[in-house]
């Protein structure tokens, strides 16, 4: 049918060209170009591809959207109801879980853990990348090789020993400062510092630094700037794009992490949102709908961040080259 329409240049086909196919004039990447539109087969393929892409949007967004909407159901409706959408929209259920689970406090804790983590991620990885990429002292190749190995041996596999190590040091400082071991802020600090030892972000920094023109740093050094001064006054301001990328990765990582935080913070007043969600796994007084509400609470802040910074984020991934 469509084939005939195109051949006859019917009004329908003209309309389709106007709203859909003409846009392909500007297409400069991939295999299909505007001049291929003479073939009806290609036209159909283009329409099909577009529909599949639209379906991708739905698949990507649906689970989160469903979780938010299903959170309006009550327990019985959620467990025994056979409808995807809730019967009525009332925030009472959400409010109850928020209140009874004291989520405000966990949001604050997560914000603290994330903020410190981002600073450490940028500062420590940036400094090492600066040394390995620009200053290149004796032995930098050995250090870089060691770091690259960690990129491929994930720390999750040694989380037990990692935890034992952290614990010894935290206890040492707690005793030194005479603080209560359970609720002392020293329990949170390892979560900040561990963000400073990330081989992947380090490589991102290093590659970016190496791509910067050498003139700036050399000029600054001639002016008598120290190495550290060059980093803070020249390198960082010039590297804002990559700083933003690493920061975004660090925010997502710090917000989502629960394995180590759960070990370090369980039962302390510094528990983060994800630790709380993880605890729900074994909690007694938590119903299925509370669990769903908590999931929604845990995805709202990253979603807001994503909406605000979508451009930087999607561009950042490509800068990153490999996934975070």
């Amino acid at each position: 049918m469509q084939k005939n329409n195109i051949k006859r240049k019917s009004p329908v086909s003209g309309f389709l060209d106007k709203i859909f196919y003409n846009k392909y004039k500007k297409k400069r990447e991939g295999a299909i170009r505007f001049y291929d539109m003479s073939s009806p087969l290609v036209k159909i393929a283009c329409a099909a591809i577009f529909l599949i892409c639209a379906a991708m949007i739905i698949v990507a967004v649906f689970p989160a959207a469903w979780a938010i909407l299903a959170g309006f159901k009550d327990l019985k409706e959620f467990v025994t109801g056979k409808k995807i959408l809730p019967v009525s929209f009332s925030f009472a259920g959400y409010a109850k879980t928020w209140e009874s689970m004291k989520f405000a406090r966990y949001y604050l804790n997560s914000a603290i853990a994330v903020a410190g983590g981002v600073v450490c991620a940028v500062l420590f990885n940036g400094l090492l990348a600066y040394v390995l990429g620009i200053l290149r002292p004796v032995g930098h190749k050995v250090v870089f090789a060691l770091v690259m190995w960690t990129l491929l041996i994930p720390p999750t596999t040694s989380v037990v020993a990692q935890f034992v190590n952290i614990h010894k040091v935290v206890e040492f400082f707690n005793k030194l400062a005479g603080l209560d071991s359970m609720n002392s802020f020293f329990n949170v600090m390892p979560l900040w510092l561990i963000m400073g030892a990330n081989a992947f972000w380090l490589v991102l920094f290093k590659e970016f630094f190496e791509s910067l023109p050498k003139d700036y740093t050399e000029a600054a050094q001639l002016d008598g700037c120290t190495d550290l001064g060059v980093f803070t006054k020249i390198m960082l301001p010039l590297s804002m794009p990559i700083v933003v990328v690493v920061s975004i990765f660090a925010v997502t990582a710090a917000w989502s992490d629960f394995l180590l935080p759960n070990l370090l913070l369980s039962n302390s007043e510094w528990r983060t949102v994800m630790v709380r969600l993880f605890e729900f796994r074994t909690a007694i007084k938590v119903t299925e709908i509370d669990k769903l509400h908590a999931v929604v609470f845990s995805i709202i802040p990253p979603t807001i961040m994503f909406i605000l910074f979508q451009r930087q984020i999607t561009r950042g991934v490509t800068v990153g080259g490999i996934k975070g």
């Binding site: 327990l75 206890e171 707690n174 359970m182 605890e279 119903t287 299925e288």
Partner: protein, 488 residues
């Protein structure tokens, strides 16, 4: 002076009972504590009078402090705390909300921050003791005369090499929880408001089928997601006459998972899915918590559960308190048994004798100790009042202490606050007090045995062609290999 203060606080506690219970329609006419003569206590709870300038000799880290979200319990504990402080000026009281979990305990042992007292599970004593996190309290219990008062089989569970490490908070015995709304819809009720519940596993299959046909809801919620599956299933195995493990007495164990009786029990379980089709949509997604959700929301009519968890289907998952009943675990060709255990209290390895004593005094205030006095009576009342206000059934506690006058008093207070038709629980309590009915968990590496059984359950519930005998044989070999090669 101090006694006066304590009395005032008891009064405050009694007031609290009224405040809490008056929120509900089923409030009892009178709490009636004034009429009760103060009972004798085996051990005096009052510490010796001390000098005006007292030194703090210890810190009581109260690891059983309720979560700040648990408003009702919190109100109670604030009163307990006030009484405690009035009586123990030489001990610093520290509120500490702690919920035991296997992934957070060892960190605390390492840090030396295990609270003075904490609740755990009955599966844990061996690990807790070996990890060095729990302390030996034998001498203190002997001094107080509490050691003899612990239910002997429970004491056995909490001891190692003749030393006692914990005391029971509550004991439980498994029964069958029923959703009476579904029983009504299926026409399985007697004229007197009691359910026509299944007495044997054969009857259970038939009753479950009837419920499924009449209401569309599952007849039985069987667990097969995690080790709780094997834990519940061992009740079925016993009813079919199986002995799952033999303790050889020399530190070795022999697994009998592939005995003819165990295989018959598993064949029966398989038939619930493939012949009767009375289970929830996928038992492999059900764990201890979702089971209560299914029962409470009316998605399943029957669920194996214990008397100490009756607030789960009701208060927490919305089933009206008068629509719930607890009946005995069905019998089988091998008899009728109920698995029993309980929730224990343990004491941190770093706690001093004075601190442990402080914790035990606190238990008296809570009414969880083998001590009967005004404080413990008020504590028991407050506990029951909380249940009434939450819409959870107030039923007898399972005796974990053998002190008869305590049991009598507890039953009296339970009757006073009762918000349920006792006939709905009568058969359960009759069964579990029958000689030889209660069985403790199997010995050996119990959790590993449950894991092996759960794997078999998962296979027979997802594969209608599963060869039960072969699967049980594999499970038996796996478990025997673990018993022969302990990894810890």
């Amino acid at each position: 002076m101090k006694k006066m203060k304590a009395l005032c606080l008891i009064l405050a506690l009694t007031m609290l009972v009224f405040t809490v219970s008056s929120c509900t329609s089923t409030a009892p006419a009178s709490a009636g504590s004034a009429d009760t003569p103060p009972a004798e206590t085996p051990v005096s709870a009052a510490p010796p009078e001390s000098e005006p300038e007292e030194q703090v000799t210890g810190t009581f880290i109260c690891g059983i402090w309720p979560a700040d979200t648990d408003y009702v319990a919190l109100q109670q504990h604030l009163v307990y705390e006030a009484i405690f402080n009035a009586e123990h000026s030489n001990i610093e009281f520290v509120r500490f909300y702690y919920k035991y979990a296997t992934d957070n305990f060892l960190p605390m042992v390492q840090a030396g921050t295990v609270p003075t007292i904490f609740e755990s599970w009955f599966t844990e004593p061996a690990k807790l003791i070996e990890s060095g996190g729990a302390r030996d309290i034998t001498d203190i219990l002997n001094e107080r005369g509490w050691a003899e008062a612990i239910n002997p089989s429970i004491k056995e569970l909490l001891s190692k090499d003749g030393k006692i490490y914990g005391i029971p908070r509550d004991a439980y015995a498994l029964g069958l929880g029923l959703n009476l709304e579904l029983f009504e819809q299926a026409g399985l009720m007697n004229a007197d408001g009691t359910p026509q519940y299944p007495k044997t596993w054969e009857e259970l299959a038939a009753a479950a089928k009837k419920i499924k046909d009449e209401t569309g809801a599952a007849g039985l919620c069987l667990l097969a997601k995690d080790n709780a599956g094997g834990w519940h299933w061992s009740n079925i195995a016993w009813a079919f006459g199986a002995n799952l493990v033999t303790d050889n007495g020399d530190g070795t164990f022999t697994s009998n998972l592939d005995s003819a009786e165990a295989v018959a029990a598993m064949e029966y379980t398989k038939s619930l899915k493939w012949e009767y089709d009375v289970l929830t949509a996928d038992p492999l997604s059900e764990d201890w918590g979702t089971g209560f959700t299914q029962l409470g929301t009316g998605a399943a009519a029957m669920y194996i559960m214990a008397n100490d968890a009756t607030e789960q289907p009701t208060a927490n998952n919305g089933l009206a308190v008068d629509k719930f009943a607890l009946v005995p675990v069905p019998a089988g060709p091998g008899g009728q048994y109920s698995l029993s255990g309980g929730t224990p209290y343990f004491f941190g390895a770093n706690a001093s004798d004075a601190e442990v004593n402080a914790a035990l005094d606190y238990l008296i205030l809570m009414g969880k100790a083998p001590v009967l006095n005004d404080l413990s009576i008020a504590g028991m009342k407050a506990g029951n009042a909380t249940k009434v206000s939450m819409g959870a059934p107030v039923i007898q506690r399972f005796p974990c202490w053998t002190l008869q006058e305590l049991i009598d008093k507890e039953n009296e207070i339970t009757a006073e606050f009762s918000n349920v038709n006792e006939a709905l629980y009568a058969d359960y309590f009759k069964a579990v007090t029958t000689e030889g009915n209660l069985r403790l968990e199997e010995s050996g590496q119990t959790q590993n045995m449950y894991a092996e059984l759960t794997k078999v359950l998962q296979e027979v519930l997802t594969n209608s062609d599963a060869d039960v005998a072969a699967l049980m044989k594999t499970a038996d070999e796996n478990y025997q290999s673990m018993l022969d090669n302990p990894t810890a």
